[in-house]
Symmetry: C2
């Protein structure tokens, strides 16, 4: 029920040819406050309800609870969600002994590509592929719950 994750920007499309699979993901939020996000997701042929708590000070560790539900249930729950759906394609890329989940966003978040790696310990080392860019683990703007209300296309850098 605790998830340790690090998140990185992605600097090229080289990961695509290394991907072992990909799925479209559509998700919305019943709650997008960082202390208690409640997400409804459709990924491939499955639905999920996921509840996450706030990150610890490292930004890496977060309480997470998830239940698989039917597509039909997920579709009904998506109708209740806040405005701002996230639509993205997730590529799974095996690098060494780890799996990177690389999310290529569509719609209002088009142009954003983010890679996540799940770890067993915060100090766990991992192999860094060439396409891995700057770490953004502690930057809450890259939370999907934030992106749903403040899409990447609206950012002023």
């Amino acid at each position: 029920m605790v998830e340790i994750e690090r998140k990185f920007l992605v600097t090229s499309n080289a990961f695509i040819k290394e991907a072992v699979k990909h799925n479209r993901i559509v998700q919305g939020y019943l709650s997008s406050v960082p202390e208690r996000t409640v997400r409804v997701r459709i990924k491939g042929a499955s639905g999920y309800v996921t509840i996450k708590g706030k990150s610890t000070s490292s930004g890496m560790t977060r309480m997470e609870w998830e239940k698989e539900i039917s597509i039909e249930e997920a579709e009904q729950l998506l109708t209740l969600c806040e405005k701002g759906m996230i639509d993205k394609t997730r590529y799974e890329v095996i690098v060494g002994v780890h799996v990177f989940e690389v999310d290529v966003f569509s719609g209002e978040n088009q142009g954003l590509v983010v890679a996540e790696i799940e770890l067993l310990r915060e100090d766990e080392t991992f192999e860094r592929p060439d396409w891995l860019g700057k770490e953004v683990t502690t930057d809450e703007r890259y939370y999907n719950s934030y992106l749903s209300k403040n899409p990447f296309s609206s950012w002023k850098n």
Copy 2:
């Protein structure tokens, strides 16, 4: 996935001797906005996550989705909830062919007793026991999600 319910105040304790069972319920909210409430509940030996949408204009009909979870999961999720836990004892009372769920609130909502009946149709008739008082179906102050933030003891009538 749609729930039709009517809610009433309770005018005496006569329902207690008619109750077929009772359970303590402790619950909190991950989201308490009426458009999308997300509730975590412990009732007896079971846990539940329940998501509800906004009521229709009649106030009786509301989308509802619920999953049973373990007590351990519910206890962990309760730690993420907004301030304002609801603590109550629910009595189940059979009246004619229907079941009334009568909630006797504790803590900051002490003094409040509310009966709910679940129906199959909005125009379904039912037997009204002597202890059934004023209908409050459309009064959102009696939503548990409202009571969690504005407990009965703080009401100024």
